[in-house]
């Protein structure tokens, strides 16, 4: 048995710490690895992630927190098309910090068949090189959808799925940029 969770003071030299210059936070190591001597690659979780590389806006190892999740049903027309449609909107105040409105991490996918489909198309629209297979939907995140709300929208080009109702599943998440 080894120590796997460290909460508080960390002097692990493999992470660049020492007794003279310790880190503070929470670290969890992989099964069988002593957290007090773990290398970076052997950690499952850590609260000291920062990246000062030029151009990087570090997310600091945030875990995706789901603010909203659910689905919206959309119905294709005879041509298999759905015009630009709001899947989910949210008050700008949800992601406003210091007067700046940020954009959340938004994920969406589409049920492959109607109703409560158990198979999903990944987010995005796909077409074969020959144009014979078209599936999925486009999705758009618009921070300034209205004066008060941001929104996630979807659109289906000629999908080949005529006159059927599909669920667009979504997750509106932290962090925001």
């Amino acid at each position: 048995m080894v120590d796997r969770v460290l909460l508080g003071k960390n002097t692990n030299s493999n992470l660049g710490y020492s007794s003279e210059s310790p880190g503070y936070g929470l670290w969890v190591s992989e099964d069988g690895v002593n957290v007090e001597s773990a290398t970076e690659a052997q950690l499952l979780y850590r609260t000291d992630i920062a990246d000062s590389t030029s151009g990087v806006v570090s997310a600091n190892g945030a875990i995706m927190g789901v603010k909203y999740r659910g689905y919206t049903a959309v119905t294709t027309d005879a041509g298999g098309t759905v015009a630009l449609t709001v899947v989910k909107s949210w008050p700008k105040t949800d992601f406003t910090v210091g007067g700046t409105v940020y954009t959340p991490l938004c994920l969406a996918q589409m049920g492959k068949t109607g109703g409560a489909a158990t198979t999903q198309y990944g987010g995005g629209w796909h077409a074969s090189s020959g144009g014979g297979i078209k599936a999925g939907m486009l999705y758009f995140v618009n921070t300034n959808y209205s004066s008060t709300h941001s929104a996630l929208l979807c659109q289906l080009p000629a999908s080949g799925l005529a006159s059927t109702t599909h669920r667009i599943y979504y997750a509106i998440c932290y962090p925001a940029i």
Partner: protein, 134 residues
């Protein structure tokens, strides 16, 4: 609200680690699938390293290095558009002239390479998750 224990640090069955249950859950009895956090996730916890905009001038390539936290393989996804207005699939539909890849450089650095073959500048929104790839 919560009726069960929410946070467990230490011994759970034959394992040692850290677990956090959902509100109303019981960390002592809930399965991993019902937990907010479990140190039994052998692949990692999926911490987000980057979620940001990358700009590419017309007919150019933009590279963005980042710390890969000890050489761990990272999960990577990109959307077309700026961080205030990004879209999934749109660029794939309208153009194959923009590509974006995630590359291993060395034990400390990975590199995002975004190529814009269009005659106008472009922006991408990029997500990188630590240790989430095989």
């Amino acid at each position: 609200m919560a009726t069960g224990d929410r946070v467990l640090v230490g011994e759970k069955g034959s394992d040692y680690g850290l677990w956090v249950s959902k509100p109303g859950g019981d960390v002592l009895s809930d399965a991993d699938v019902d937990l907010l956090f479990s140190s039994e996730n052998a692949g990692g916890i999926g911490q987000i390293l980057l979620f940001q905009q990358v700009d590419i001038p017309a007919n150019s390539t933009t590279t963005q290095n980042y710390n890969n936290r000890g050489g761990g393989k990272t999960f990577f996804y990109w959307w077309s558009g700026s961080s205030a207005s990004y879209a999934a699939g749109a660029q794939f539909l309208t153009s194959a002239a923009i590509t974006c890849s995630n590359n291993y450089v060395n034990a400390t650095t990975n590199q995002i390479v975004a190529v814009n073959g269009l005659n106008s500048s472009a922006s991408l929104t990029v997500l990188v998750i630590n240790k989430a790839a095989a």
